[in-house]
């Protein structure tokens, strides 16, 4: 009896000392559904409603000319959450099209703040505000250039806050495209040495930007019945189904924290519709990016170079045109020619190869401080890329069985993993 009590006490003590490793119970096994729905409320961790944070307003290039149509993008905003005592500072990079306070960024900011870190949240370089204020070329997607732009933003933000806080170490993380960019920023930091990041975590990164973007482009174009000319009837269909879910006796309310989860439980859309939705959201992000890049580079792609629209002009027709342009069209028609002009002899394949983790593989292989967390069913990984991550990172890769692309990021166990990763002292976590 006494022995048993002792054993029970020992196990309890052990569990307490390890801080109760959360069991991973993320329930959605369809990666498309997981990507759209995210994490059900029951699986989310408890996070503070409000935290000590403020908005930083940065001017990156003093002499930058802001086109009239983009007049409101005169400064870059970041979020800064701080501790009153000495703590490590984590820089976070948002995913494609997301800004510094997207839902995922705010969730991570709270989780890291609660775990005792200072946090600086940075918008994705694909965000219009970043393209206008902080990108040297204003043509995002070039991982080495993006890393230089991000590094410059981090330095500027750090300059603004360094006298107000005490920092013990610098860490770096990012999700989706931001995860991939974190690796490139880390590599740049090895030579620049401003932060000397002690640990870096890539969350659901793309291995090859080109492959991931091709997958997302196709999700829209292959799954809207009748093609993009039919987008209106597809959308009306989706919206009327959504409307039906919010009516009647068993209606699901918009305010419900599990709104999408319940819609999927009671009125499950088809796999094709779900894939098209993911593609649609991505297309809106890439459209915002492409039009902004075009205006910043003097037009000629979508807006006429000798009639750049102004703040009072309608953008509706340009929106129709841009929405038809896939990310890969942008890559071939605007991006590649620009870098070819800068670097004669550059081939399309060479540029595609530069846009991947393979490009910095020797660095990633030996950089023990860099870890990856992703899902076995992440939609943005092409075939073979998950194995590539496993082989390249070995024990530094944590792979969850499900969650799609960032669908499980709000899951308790996942959040605990990404916070514990930085909490663990030195080396491996």
């Amino acid at each position: 009896m006494a022995k048993r009590l002792f054993a029970a006490a020992a196990i309890t003590a052990l569990l307490l000392s390890t801080g109760f490793a959360e069991e991973y119970t993320y329930p959605i096994n369809d990666p498309y559904k997981a990507t759209v729905v995210g994490t059900p409320a029951a699986n989310k961790p408890e996070l503070p409603q409000k935290i000590r944070r403020t908005r930083l307003e940065l001017t990156i290039f003093e002499d930058r000319k802001i086109p009239d149509a983009l007049w409101y993008n005169n400064r870059l905003f970041c979020s800064f959450a701080w501790q009153k005592e000495q703590a490590p500072l984590i820089f976070m990079i948002a995913g494609t099209g997301a800004n510094y306070q997207s839902a995922k960024m705010q969730m991570m900011e709270k989780a890291y703040f609660q775990a005792g870190f200072h946090v600086i949240s940075i918008s994705s370089p694909t965000c219009p505000k970043f393209i206008v204020t902080a990108s040297e070329s204003s043509l995002p997607g070039h991982l080495e250039d993006d890393a230089r732009d991000l590094y410059r933003v981090m330095k500027t933000a750090w300059q603004q806050v360094k006298d107000d806080i005490e920092v013990s170490n610098f860490y770096l993380t990012g999700y989706s495209l931001g995860g991939t960019q974190a690796a490139f920023v880390s590599k740049l930091d090895e030579t620049e040495q401003v932060f000397d990041f002690k640990k870096v975590l890539m969350i659901n990164p793309a291995v090859s930007l080109y492959n991931s973007v091709a997958i997302l482009d196709d999700m829209l174009e292959d799954n809207v019945p009748g093609g993009l000319n039919n987008i209106d009837s597809w959308m009306q269909d989706v919206l009327s189904k959504l409307a039906r879910a919010t009516q009647g006796k068993d209606r699901i309310k918009f305010q419900d924290p599990d709104f999408l989860y319940k819609v999927y439980q009671h009125y499950p859309p088809s796999r094709k519709t779900t894939a098209a939705l993911i593609g649609f959201v991505f297309r809106i992000s890439s459209s915002n990016m492409i039009i902004t890049s075009d205006i910043m580079n003097g037009g000629g792609y979508i807006v006429p170079e000798n009639r750049i629209p102004t703040r009072n002009d309608s953008f509706t027709e340009y929106a129709k045109v841009t929405f038809r342009i896939a990310f890969l069209d942008y890559f071939r028609e605007l991006f590649l020619p620009y870098f070819k002009a800068r670097q004669p002899g550059l081939t399309e394949q060479a540029l595609i190869d530069m846009e991947s983790l393979q490009h910095i593989e020797p660095y990633l292989q030996k950089a023990e401080k860099i870890g990856v967390v992703t899902n076995a069913d992440d939609l943005i990984l092409a075939s073979g890329e998950l194995d590539y991550i496993r082989t390249l990172f070995g024990t530094r890769a944590k792979i969850y069985p499900n969650g799609g692309h960032c669908g499980n990021m709000d899951d308790r166990a996942f959040v605990q993993y990404i916070t514990d990763y930085f909490k663990a002292e030195g080396g491996e976590s």
Binding site: K129, A319, K320, R324
Partner: protein
């Protein structure tokens, strides 16, 4: 005789030149250099584009959108920020509940206008419960009791009876709307004045005091409304934001009217 005429003609010419900004001598504008992708290539007559919302006053609307941004930046958001700093969260929730309870009056009138029996009963129940045991609406006991809020307004009532949305309209302070919903807002406000006149809550106050109380309440209500809306103008930074917001507003209203 001749000289004055010449002078007159010259004066007229000069005036015209000044008024038209010397249009007469300005060169014909260069022909547009076509970009790589044009609307001609993509936009087709027989295709419906979801981004198209009837917006004949877009120029005015875009200016009003910009005005709202500046109003937010220099007046509304600083005031809301101050309000959030000085009032504890429970007080904020109480104030939100209070105005939501007043809002339930218009949810009720509009349920009745649309002859929606059960929602009207529910809303009546909410009003009774929250006004009494919810102490004048400061606490929302009805929702945890399973009596949900029915969001109805006169714009939806008009839509319910088949009134089209009319042109898109960005209203000062309020933001995205259209002619139907803007009129609905005015009717709801008129209803409010009628009800106020009928119950006369300020009967013991002087006319001046009554107006002051009403002004304070209206201001607090506006602050509470803004406090509950996360939207920030130009936050996406995208030149398509105006069109995307217009699209989302229109679709959201369609869903609300269908309910």
């Amino acid at each position: 005789m001749k000289k004055p005429l010449v002078v007159y003609a010259f004066t007229v010419m000069l005036a015209c030149a000044v008024l038209t900004g010397c249009a007469g001598v300005a060169p014909v504008p260069d022909p547009i250099i076509a970009p790589m992708h044009t609307a001609d290539e993509v936009v087709k007559e027989d295709v419906t584009y979801p981004i198209d919302v009837y917006d004949p006053w877009e120029g005015f609307n875009r200016r009003m959108y910009r005005f709202n941004f500046y109003f937010d930046k220099y007046v509304f958001l600083p005031v809301v920020g101050g309000y959030e700093t000085i009032t504890p969260n429970v007080v904020q929730t109480g104030i939100s509940n209070f105005f939501a309870n007043i809002g339930d009056v218009f949810n009720l009138t509009n349920c009745l206008f649309q002859l929606k029996g059960k929602p009207a009963l529910n809303t009546t129940g909410r009003l009774v419960i929250n006004t009494t045991i919810g102490i004048g609406g400061l606490f929302d006991w009805a929702t945890p009791m399973g009596i949900d809020r029915e969001d109805e307004d006169f714009g939806q009532t008009l839509g319910h009876y088949g009134v089209g949305s009319g042109p898109y309209l960005v209203l000062p302070l309020v933001g995205p709307s259209n002619v139907r919903d803007g009129s609905g807002l005015a009717i709801d406000y008129a209803t409010r004045l009628l009800i106020m006149a009928a119950i006369d809550p300020y009967e013991n106050c002087s006319g001046k005091d009554a107006r002051t109380i009403e002004a304070i309440l209206l201001t607090l209500e506006a602050i509470d409304k803004r406090h509950n809306v996360a939207f920030r103008y130009y936050e996406t930074g995208s030149p398509f934001e105006y069109a995307l917001v217009r699209f989302l507003y229109s679709e959201l209203r369609k869903i609300q009217i269908a309910q």
